[in-house]
Amino acid sequence: MTANPAGRRPRLRSAATPWLFATPAIVLFTLFLIIPIGYAIYLSFRGFRIDGGGAFGRRVQTFVGFDNYLAALTDPEYVAGLGRVLLYGLFSIPSVLGLALLFALLLDTPRVRARGFTRTAIFLPYAVPGVIASLLWGFLYLPSTSPLNYLAKQLHAGPLDFFSFPTLYFSLANIALWSGVGFNMIIIFTSLRAIPTSIYEAARIDGASELQIAWRIKIPLVAPALVLTGLFSVIGTLQLYSEPATLRPMSTTISSTWVPLMKIYQEAFMNDNLGGAAAASVVLALGILVLSMLLLRFFQRRTFGDNA
């Protein structure tokens, strides 16, 4: 800040004003984000060790250095879990974003009917909580309760197994698809509506078809929205939890440490190893941060080009 002795008093006040406005946000942010993160980092260096000998010696929390980090990074299950979410992302992200973009473009065509109803209908599954959706799909997937399987049986097609590899990945992606498409479509659609119509008029005068307009004008112009939704999807994928965790008790193919977050939950609340869970969370968070920054940097250069 440049010094200006004459205007010090008013300047100071105007400098303080934004801070005061931000106070509630800062207080909430500190209370519910900074402090818990700090505590998690503290916990990640702690572990339970036995105090006193004997078969029933008491466990006490002590400082264990980088033991927990070492355990997390060398745990084959944790690493395998990361591999599974990446494989899952390979299926789910393109299909969610592809469908979201398709629906947004269709809704944005000039002669579309019942736009409000359709938009709501596509968005509505987003309102169904992930756990409930997973339970419902669980019933639809299990051979004895599934109507799909009943139909297959009538057609003399063998019992469908939705939980075997690699179908399992599609079964899981399908659950997320319903809510993901609605949410992402709204973001892309909003971005489409912000494009000035004069551009389309110019294109039409030049003889462009709707398809060409969509392909050559709309998609390039909503690219920033696509990057944003893509980034959200990547983060959401790495944090995959409720779908596999809800389906786990129904299947034999989903292990209790199937994705990183399930592993973390397992450590924290089943194995009573808060330190290990905290360390694994920190590793996951750092991984997500680095990946998002790399993705953002990569796409920023391409989509925002000169403006960046």
Partner: protein, 455 residues
């Protein structure tokens, strides 16, 4: 804080609102931090500040459900006899959920006064220091429960819980379908395999039972029946016997059944399992005396078609089995009314009156009086025609001579074992390797925590 801006009305109002919000938030923080100060004082000793005035006991249990009139009748009875005590029931989930919530509650210094856990979950909580030693509190009612049942909650001669219900192991099966398919009710596991073959041959869609890898306790009981001890200790060091030869033999048995597709690899009590039990495609469940009530809750229409028999054996004629399932009431170390809590737990589990009342909840009481009362009790709703159900169960308990010790890290083995066994069952790979890997994981975890493990 800086005084409000002199600028006129609207910003000023926002100012005060922001300030008010900030104050409100600080107040909340203060409230949060003050909430845990009283209890952080002297954990564990609070039970000594005795019964003056009325006491409210928070009880975490799934046996007594708050909205169940039968449970309410029991609580009303206790209130009548102890006018200064009020019992508040809540159900927080099964053993795993209760254990994790209890650990969190202990850290927050705000525990319930009584909590129910299955026997296998107790040692982990004891070594975590969240369970109170109630040896002295229950001494007066000690004779109400047999010593082999007290052994389930006693470690190093200290009592850490009052046994409530027990699970004498039994084989519950569809009598009608066993007869229809000409399968003999197995008395040995070899006969079990034969019956499995017979059933699956007669109806390719039907199986003698499901194979649920998540049921660690069942496989531990299988090994115990064969003479292995998964966990044992001499007071100083732990010994882990998951990969001992008798234990591995039981692994071979199940591997064979799974490979020959004679048991259905799938978890228990899923919508799928329930549907198949209802359809008569899963014909039995080797579990304990509590199994009929569980089956009745998911397949009430099949009542009258089931019967229970003693569990099959590895050696013909050997009647011994361990307990499977069942649960105890413990008193958390930080309970503020530990004395009253222990008194309530002991009344319900060990007193004549309490253990008899448990029978009204359709659970198998661990107390002597309750066990005696079962003999003149109606059979479970699933098998109203099997008049000797409780006589059979009573005989099983008399033969229940295999003590099972649970280690302080059962939870660690539970998931490692279940996941690996599921994988082996699906990929048709060696079950022995699963047992050996679990052994290694359990030993490594014990050693990491600092326990001595002997070979």
């Amino acid at each position: 804080m800086t005084p409000p801006s002199p600028r006129p009305p609207r910003p000023g109002r926002r100012w005060t609102m922001a300030a008010a919000l900030a104050v409100a938030l600080t107040a909340t923080v203060a409230a949060c931090s003050s909430a845990d100060t009283p209890s952080s004082g002297t954990p564990g000793t609070s039970g000594t500040e005795a019964a003056k005035g009325p006491v409210t006991l928070q009880v975490w249990t799934w046996n007594l459900k708050g909205n169940d009139p039968r449970a309410k009748a029991i609580i009303d009875k206790y209130h009548q006899e102890n006018p200064n005590v009020t019992i508040k029931l809540s159900e927080v989930g099964g053993t795993a959920d209760t254990a994790s919530k209890l650990l969190a509650a202990d850290q927050a210094g705000d525990t319930p006064d009584v909590a129910q856990v299955e026997y296998r979950g107790l040692p982990a909580l004891v070594v975590a220091g969240v369970v109170k030693d109630i040896t002295a509190d229950v001494a007066a009612l000690k004779s109400g429960i047999e010593p082999n049942i007290w052994a389930l909650t006693t470690f190093n001669n200290q009592v850490y819980g009052v046994p409530q219900d027990i699970g004498p192991m039994m084989f519950t099966y569809r009598k009608d379908l066993f007869d229809k398919y000409g399968a003999k009710v197995p008395t040995t596991w070899a006969e079990y395999a034969k019956a499995a073959e017979q059933i699956h041959k007669k109806d390719p869609e039907a199986y003698i039972a499901s194979f649920s890898a998540a049921q660690l306790e069942f496989f531990a009981a299988q090994a115990a029946q064969a003479g292995a001890q998964w966990w044992s200790n001499d007071g100083k060091a732990w010994k882990v016997g998951i990969d001992s030869e008798p234990s591995l033999k039981t692994a071979d048995f199940w591997e064979d059944l799974v490979k020959r597709d004679l048991v259905k690899v799938e978890p228990l009590l899923t919508p799928e399992w329930n549907a198949q039990v209802n359809d008569g495609k899963l014909l039995s469940w080797a579990a304990a005396a509590w199994a009929p009530n569980v089956i009745h809750s998911v397949a009430p229409d099949t009542a009258g078609k089931w019967e229970s028999a003693p569990l099959p054996q590895w050696t013909a004629g050997d009647p011994a089995v361990p307990f499977l399932g069942g649960s105890a009431f413990l008193v958390p170390a930080k309970s503020k009314h530990a004395k009253e809590a222990a008194a309530f737990a002991a009344w319900l589990g060990a007193s004549d009156e309490g253990s008899k009342l448990q029978l009204s909840l359709d659970i198998y009481p661990g107390g002597n009086a309750g066990r005696q009362a079962t003999l003149s009790h109606e059979p479970p709703k699933l098998m109203p025609q099997q008049k000797d159900f409780y006589q059979v169960a009573d005989q099983v308990i008399k033969n229940t001579t295999i003590p099972v010790t649970w280690g302080p890290n059962v939870n660690v083995s539970q998931t490692a074992f279940g996941d690996a066994l599921n994988k082996a069952a699906l990929n048709k790979t060696s079950f022995r390797e699963v047992y050996k890997a679990t052994q290694q994981a359990v030993v490594a975890d014990l050693q990491k925590s600092g326990y001595t493990v002997t070979k």
